[in-house]
Symmetry: C2
Subunit: 516 residues, 2 copies
Amino acid sequence: KKNTKISRAWWRLPKPEAPAAEGAHFSSPCSSLQMGWGDLGVYGEPSRETPNLDRMAAEGMLFPNFYSANPLCSPSRAALLTGRLPIRNGFYTTNAHARNAYTPQEIVGGIPDSEQLLPELLKKAGYVSKIVGKWHLGHRPQFHPLKHGFDEWFGSPNCHFGPYDNKARPNIPVYRDWEMVGRYYEEFPINLKTGEANLTQIYLQEALDFIKRQARRHPFFLYWAVDATHAPVYASKPFLGTSQRGRYGDAAREIDDSIGKMLEVLHDLHIADNTFVFFTSDNGAALISAPEQGGSNGPFLCGKQTTFEGGMREPALAWWPGHIAAGQVSHQLGSIMDLFTTSLALAGLTPPRDRAIDGLNLLPALLQGRLMDRPVFYYRGDTLMATTLGQHKAHFWTWTNSWENFRQGIDFCPGQNVSGVTTHNLEDHTKLPLIFHLGRDPGERFPLSFASAEYQEALSRITSVVQQHQEALVPGQPQLNVCNWAVMNWAPPGCEKLGKCLTPPESIPKKCLWSH
Amino acid sequence: KKNTKISRAWWRLPKPEAPAAEGAHFSSPCSSLQMGWGDLGVYGEPSRETPNLDRMAAEGMLFPNFYSANPLCSPSRAALLTGRLPIRNGFYTTNAHARNAYTPQEIVGGIPDSEQLLPELLKKAGYVSKIVGKWHLGHRPQFHPLKHGFDEWFGSPNCHFGPYDNKARPNIPVYRDWEMVGRYYEEFPINLKTGEANLTQIYLQEALDFIKRQARRHPFFLYWAVDATHAPVYASKPFLGTSQRGRYGDAAREIDDSIGKMLEVLHDLHIADNTFVFFTSDNGAALISAPEQGGSNGPFLCGKQTTFEGGMREPALAWWPGHIAAGQVSHQLGSIMDLFTTSLALAGLTPPRDRAIDGLNLLPALLQGRLMDRPVFYYRGDTLMATTLGQHKAHFWTWTNSWENFRQGIDFCPGQNVSGVTTHNLEDHTKLPLIFHLGRDPGERFPLSFASAEYQEALSRITSVVQQHQEALVPGQPQLNVCNWAVMNWAPPGCEKLGKCLTPPESIPKKCLWSH
């Protein structure tokens, strides 16, 4: 009865699990913006500077085969909170074929009102929800997180790029709840030269305060969406220069330390065994920013912006003492969208029945070590680029970026080059997909022979799943098509009190240009 | 007073440690021939199929920065047993510049009598030594392991290549102690089609029998040198087809399982706290055999045969319950040659004083978590290709293989291509070395800018160490220059009893040809 929309798809769901004890808390630190699979010690990072996350893994369950919903942050975050692929929830573009699309402050779109977000749904079970950090699902008034179910917000609507001159472009505001409390590079300084910024400490404090306040009151949902590992990478003074990995490592260490402190507080408040905590990332490491400002995707191919494993396979750790047994590894194919459905299940709720939901309830994997068959779809904008089923991944289209971009030095796969795979033309393989076995060849270097029985068998299984998916697919209204400089963060709510309102330019909507 | 030869070099040694309790046993399973850094779960292998090695790491100390002495098996093994670089102990060639050199059965050379091997030295402290598996330090009578300190041997003198026709080439013999007991593909079958062979099980039994026999008698040294992960990769029936990683994974799982059984026996015999166990590999994964018969070097560049990190950085685990604290990670730069010096220290012995020893006593790192400054030298044949000091690695020469080889499909870096680094000419950078920071850039993708202060400082430190090294260097007589089909394993000792003697061809010594 539960998850009827899911059971319309081809995979079978196990019998629904009993929800967790009433009033379970859960925080889902989808932190570490574009932290890569290979950035945690427990995933093989050679410097091994994430002792808290490594301990979290040792005390919980590690997922080596866990995926974001997109190789880009906004669409992936929209998918996390809706349990739906970006192609359904609107976080994509149709301005050109297979284009990634960003969510800069000139974007007109955002999360549609028709989407039901996790915190909205959790309200029904009495949950209080807070987002700390980057929202990135639209910055215009109708997209405000407190209009989409969150009760509290401390953070920013867009990336911490800048500094801007507040004339051609305003600096990005930082909000507390409904109103801005300052702007990046102004009240919230980021020193681009030294990399110093106090933001992770502020975000940590916000999280700890919220946890402490809620611990004895309501069940809570905390979405800790920090961004220190996104260029421009930053860390606070005590962490700067402490990593063997440079500034990126400093930022990762500070995030790791913060998560350690949060788990400690859960223990101190005696709610650890009643709090489900999940750590993951929104897309693969941005190798274009490496080595100083980009992380590691371990043995995987390429990074952010691509639909190779490096672009979408993520570190993922689940922690729930007394419920999830310590030291486990689950080979369940997981998705950031599963956090939506799993969180609802934890709260004793079911996902909306009037729409397709892509997220799976992971509780059978988490609590009983079960494996559920399910596909992973790798979209780039409007285009299904690849699909993984079991160990086989089929690429229907391959593309990194254009030759023009590449010749300018924009490289999504530095040091990597797989002939016919990391292509600089958008190559159509739909008639004869490239298929890799991800167990034998996690780095996607050796396509199966088209003539092999293994290829034929894998192709037939994947084709059938893809057909079902595409036949049932109702694409959402694309949100990332229109840009307009007038909609930027000129005069966010609260700017009057601070004397920080700026005058927008003339409204000129135009088609956004996305080069890859 | 100890290690005087080492203190001639530039680094300072800590005060010598007290040797371990009299009569310490140690087995050093330098197993997993060309198993790569990325092949263990604890090093981030996504399929995570090495639970026993992962547990060994959790109960002991993991070294993320541990190196073989050469990107090839024989020289690396010669270095392990002598504590000396191949350039000193003779396991190299001068037939051409910077050539790797193999030890096929037509090789005339082997370990010189002038070298003092670990088991020879351990005799002075009453140790009984056994080698199980591949010796590979020469197969002619004077090179026999029992002439170089081992008391027992079960295994082969060369790689398990074949099957040969016993006319142009004989199949490789398997020895028990002084005499052959059969040949590969004859008495010791390896099914190249299915990958089935019982050899790891035989080697495991040999190890367990030796441990049980010696446990209550003498202190022992066991060198468990298995080769299932070297192409042609094999596994026994219970393991075949069980891995998510294909045949290579099956072999790795069987090795992992065997190590679990050995550690269990040490516990059962109540000698675990008196036995030092070390796991490492002799060179990086052979990517040329990937994906079916080659492993993974994780995030590192290229593989076997190269002096990039993928060719020489190795998995390394130390285990000694009650002495080495559980769950530690040491960032000590370590070398397979350190096992020589460390093992001597454990036995209360000092290394020979009449020759240069490259191995360091790791006990301060193992027992007190200390870090000792020391260089890592990356040789290819007669040529110092690169040197690491601290986090900086300088490449003086770069080469993968020739354009000719490469065009024939011989690729040591499949899917990887770092412009100006993974070169197909032997490029001379001695005047202006390429320098990488291995903490920020473990994949050697982003050379430091020649103009940077960091480059200048690193270059100056490395240059000084290299000068000292080269000024003091006395190269050994090269052993891998001369080949002769007459010296092959035609009539090994014991062949008469088995009726398996073959007639050698005419003796024609010739210069061995090494193409890369």
